[in-house]
Amino acid sequence: MSFKRTLATTGRVLRQLGHDKRTLALIFLVPCVLLIFVRFAFQSNLHIFDRIAPLVLGIFPLIIMFLVASIATLRERTIGTLDRLMTMPIAKLDFVLGYALAFSLLGLIQASLASLVIGLLDVPVAAGAIPMLLGAVLAAFLGTTFGLFVSAFASSEFQAVQFLPAFVFPQLLTCGLFVPREQMAKGLQWFADIMPMSYSVDAMKQIASHSTWTGRLVRDFVIVIVIALGVLMLGSITIRRQD
């Protein structure tokens, strides 16, 4: 592994997106606009909006970075650049970490803008902005590692896009956004217990309702980090030096 090659890869991924302003605009602005939509959708039940708005920061970076990372690395596999890199003295971890850093940074910017909107909409967040942004970055990191991993199993962009409803939507439905996890059927609770998004969302709940770092928040963060690192390793295994 080399720090220099990892950072150069991060820089390269960001530079690619820098030449693609429309994608950047979509990544940064869509969550903000959707938050405003949701706020006015719950016009008559603002207490519900106050409850779910912070959770969105545990979900959006995960979903978007999952999608962007899976397409980006699938492209590397299909256009031959990964082929070329694998004949060079770059470690596979340099490659996956480079991506993870780049998209975590994008997640941070995305979440910063969204948290501004949350502030403007007067949503109470007990622990404040810093833990909330940290949670969002971890969600982005998690999404990126999953995207990298699943891209190995897609042979076309059509398949990669389908992985979103296949891998992410089940987590979205059971993460506690729509129904508290305790109220779901037992089988689904077990499912939710092993799904990483549940912990990303639970962390946001803790941040929204407690002004200090609760033990549960720390536990949630640790779980998210451990799962993300594990999936990152799996992702680097899917990259082969030899076919």
């Binding site: 150069a8 390269r12 530079r15 256009i79 031959g80 004949t87 003295p89």
Partner: protein, 236 residues
């Protein structure tokens, strides 16, 4: 004769198909060696074996003194794939600099090489806006980074106009004269006469090897194309 690649009874099987069958050949060092054959003959697979990207089923391949695919060879071989393996959403120079960092090569070298492939003026242009021939020259430029001991070029002159093709072959010659071994594939037979040695491949098997003159003499023909056709005819 100094040998850069030594291939012994090489077989590669992919998805139950024999892509390469029992190839034995020695590729001389410091020369331009042409890999010729119709499309689907196995040229690309053989090149992927040499650069270490393709696992071999049986036999052995030694490259620059080590087994193909070993970690010490990474960065020693410049590889240009048939698809333009560069980032379309980066500029030419950004591509060069990124791969230079991956190879641990001085970034200043990137600018020099762009002159060699005549892309100095396009340095700040996004690759996706370049013409097909220009794109493949970016790919070639990356293969040249770090002055590799060996260049493996998979059809580098496809879609390149005659003037530039002439220039590229001159570049290959200059590079080979400095001691770099070049393996170049082509299905354009008139390029064969520019090579120092040839391997003719068909259906995954080695049909013949030797200098263009030797092949013509052996088959009593005037051009490599005729000799190839004659050899194919004899086999079938």
């Amino acid at each position: 004769m100094e040998v850069s690649v030594s291939i012994r009874s090489l077989c590669v099987e992919l998805g139950g198909q024999n892509i390469l069958r029992n190839i034995t050949a020695d590729i001389p060092a410091g020369k331009i060696v042409g890999l010729l054959g119709p499309s689907g003959a196995g040229k690309t697979t053989l090149m992927r074996v040499i650069v270490g990207r393709q696992r071999i089923t049986s036999g052995s391949v030694s490259v620059l003194g080590g087994p193909a695919g070993s970690a010490t060879l990474r960065g020693e071989i410049g590889y240009m794939t048939q698809v333009v393996s560069v980032y379309p959403d980066l500029t030419v120079l950004e591509n060069m600099r990124y791969f230079a960092t991956m190879l641990g090569v001085d970034r200043a070298e990137a600018t020099d090489i762009l002159g060699v492939v005549d892309l100095g003026k396009q340095a700040k242009q996004l690759v996706r806006t370049l013409s097909g021939g220009q794109k493949s020259r970016v790919s070639l430029a990356i293969a040249l980074l770090g002055k590799p001991k060996m260049l493996v070029l998979d059809e580098p002159t496809v879609g390149v106009d005659p003037v530039l093709r002439q220039q590229l072959w001159q570049t290959f010659r200059t590079i080979a004269d400095k001691g770099t071994s070049i393996i170049v594939s082509s299905h354009v037979m008139d390029e064969a006469s520019r090579c120092d040695a040839l391997l003719l491949i068909r259906d995954g098997g080695l049909l013949a090897q030797g200098t263009p003159e030797e092949l013509c003499a052996r088959t009593k023909t005037k051009t490599v194309e005729e000799s190839f056709l004659k050899l194919v005819g004899k086999k079938s």
